[in-house]
C-alpha cells in the first residue's frame, strides 16, 4: 500500500488516510485478512503525527473496514457491505480504460486527462445539485 499525504492541501490528514486505505481495500491492493502497517510504521515513514494515524485507524475500525487485534495490529476486515462496491469499482475501471487510451492516442497529457475527467465529474455533480434544488 502506497500512502501519499498532501499535508498542506487543507484536507484533514486523517480523512486523506481513511480515503486512501479504503481505496486500497476497494481496489484489492490490500485484501481481507492482510495486515496493515502499524501506527508507528505509518507515523515514522511519513514523519507524521501518530495520533492522527490512530484517529484514522479508529474511524476505519468503526466503519468495519479494518479490525484491530490488540497487540497484533490492524487487519483488513471481512468483506464489508461495500465488497459489491469493490467489484463495481473494478468494472468502472474497465469501462473507463478505453476512453483513457483514446485520450492518450489523441496526445493528451496526464494532467490534461485528469482535468477532462474532473471537469466532467464536477459537471455531473453540479447538474445533480441543480436537479435536487428544482424539485
Amino acid at each position: 500500500m502506497n500512502l501519499r499525504i498532501n499535508f498542506s492541501s487543507g484536507v484533514p490528514i486523517y480523512l486523506q488516510l481513511i480515503e486512501q486505505i479504503k481505496h486500497a481495500v476497494d481496489t484489492g491492493a490490500v485484501r481481507e485478512g492482510e495486515q496493515l502497517p502499524t501506527i508507528r510504521k505509518v507515523a515514522e515513514e511519513l514523519a507524521m503525527n501518530p495520533n492522527t494515524v490512530a484517529r484514522a485507524y479508529r474511524e476505519l475500525e468503526r466503519d468495519g473496514v479494518i479490525e484491530v487485534r490488540h497487540g497484533l495490529g490492524a487487519y483488513v476486515a471481512e468483506p464489508r457491505a461495500s465488497s459489491a462496491k469493490s467489484i463495481e469499482i473494478r468494472k468502472a475501471g474497465a469501462v473507463l480504460r478505453p476512453a483513457i487510451e483514446k485520450g492518450v492516442a489523441l496526445g493528451l497529457s496526464e494532467s490534461e486527462l485528469r482535468r477532462v475527467f474532473e471537469d466532467e465529474l464536477s459537471r455531473l455533480v453540479n447538474d445533480a445539485i441543480a436537479a435536487r434544488r428544482r424539485t
Binding site: 484533514p12 490528514i13 508507528r40 514523519a47
Partner: protein, 297 residues
C-alpha cells in the same frame, strides 16, 4: 489524552509597561505534538520563558503536569520532568559528541541508554566528532538526544528546525513522531515553518498580540474552516459583512473572499440570496488561517 500537560489561564506579562501577554489561555494534552505559532513579537518566546520559570508572570496561572507553578520549588519540580531546546543551541565547544553525552548523562539518574543509542543511530551522529565541527542540523540532533535521553515527559523547543535543510528537518520530524508513539512524550514547539507544523503536529496554537486566536486539533480546524469565494454582478452588497459565522471578509471588484467556520452552508445560501452569481467553497490551509488571523483587516 485527557491529562493536560501544559495549561495557562489568563497569563499576563509586561516589559516596562509594554504588554507582551494579555491573558493567554493555553492547553496542551499529554502525548500531543503542538505547534506554537505567531508572528515575531506575538509573545511566543515570552510564553516559553514563563513556562520554564525564567520569567515570572504579572498575573494569571501556569499549570505543568497538572500542578500549579507558583513557587520556585514547584517550578524546579516541573523542570525536572521537562527539557528545553533553545533556538541558539549552545553546547560546550571543547567536547566531542561522546564527551557531551557522558558529561550530561552524569546529571540525570533516570538517563535512558536505550534512547541514547537509538538517537545516535537514527541521526548517524559520530561520537568522536568535536562539537564545533558539527553542522547546525547535527547540533539540533545532539540537543534532541540530550533532551530526550533524560527521560523527559515534555519537550519544549524554540524554532527547532530553523536553518536546517529539508533532509535534516525530515530526520527531526521522524524522531518526534517516534517519541510521540513510544513514550507518549508531549512536544510543544514554536515555529515559523507552517509546512512542518502541518506535517507533524496534531494540535496548533496561534497567538497574536499576546492572546490565543486559534487553538485546537489541526484536522478539526481544517474541517471547520472554509474559504468561500463569491462573484457578483456588481460590487458585493454591504449586507455580506453582517452574515453570522464570518471570520474575515475581503472584497475586490465584483468578488468577495470569506473565511468562515461552522456556519458555511448558511453563509453560502445567504450569499446566493444576496445575489451572488457564482459561489465556490474551498478547504483552508494552515497558512491561510495564519495570515487571515494575524494580519487583521
Amino acid at each position: 489524552m485527557s491529562e493536560t500537560i501544559i495549561s495557562t489561564q489568563g497569563l499576563l506579562k509586561s516589559y516596562s509597561g509594554k504588554p507582551a501577554l494579555r491573558g493567554l489561555n493555553l492547553a496542551v494534552p499529554r502525548g500531543s505534538i503542538c505547534g506554537f505559532l505567531g508572528r515575531n513579537g506575538a509573545g511566543k518566546t515570552t510564553t516559553l520563558k514563563l513556562l520554564l520559570g525564567m520569567l515570572r508572570p504579572d498575573g494569571g496561572e501556569i499549570r505543568l503536569f497538572g500542578e500549579t507553578v507558583k513557587s520556585e520549588a514547584s517550578s524546579i519540580a516541573a523542570r525536572q520532568r521537562l527539557a528545553f531546546i533553545s533556538e541558539d543551541k549552545e553546547l560546550y565547544p571543547y567536547m566531542t559528541v561522546g564527551q557531551t553525552i557522558r558529561f550530561t548523562r552524569a546529571f540525570f539518574p533516570t538517563w535512558r541508554r536505550d534512547l541514547e543509542e537509538k538517537f545516535l543511530e537514527l541521526f548517524r551522529l559520530p561520537r568522536e566528532k568535536a562539537v564545533p565541527k558539527l553542522s547546525r542540523g547535527m547540533r539540533t540532533q545532539l540537543m534532541l538526544l540530550l533532551a530526550m535521553a533524560r527521560g523527559s515527559e515534555l519537550l519544549m523547543m524554540d524554532e527547532p528546525t530553523s536553518g536546517l535543510d529539508p533532509a535534516m528537518t525530515e530526520d527531526i520530524l521522524q524522531a518526534l513522531a517516534d517519541l510521540a508513539v513510544s513514550d507518549e512524550t508531549t512536544v510543544f514547539f514554536s515555529s515559523h515553518q507552517l509546512m512542518e507544523v502541518e506535517q507533524i503536529c496534531d494540535r496548533v496554537c496561534l497567538i497574536d498580540e499576546g492572546q490565543s486566536v486559534i487553538q485546537g486539533v489541526l484536522d478539526d480546524l481544517k474541517a471547520q474552516y472554509r474559504r468561500i469565494l463569491l462573484v457578483f454582478d456588481a460590487a458585493p452588497p454591504l449586507a455580506l459583512a453582517g452574515l453570522p459565522g464570518i471570520d474575515h471578509l475581503r472584497q475586490r471588484g465584483r468578488t468577495a473572499s470569506i473565511l468562515a467556520h461552522n456556519n458555511v452552508d448558511a453563509v453560502v445560501e445567504s450569499a446566493r440570496a444576496l445575489g451572488a452569481i457564482s459561489t465556490e467553497v474551498r478547504p483552508v490551509t494552515l497558512k491561510e488561517l495564519f495570515l487571515d488571523h494575524v494580519r487583521g483587516e
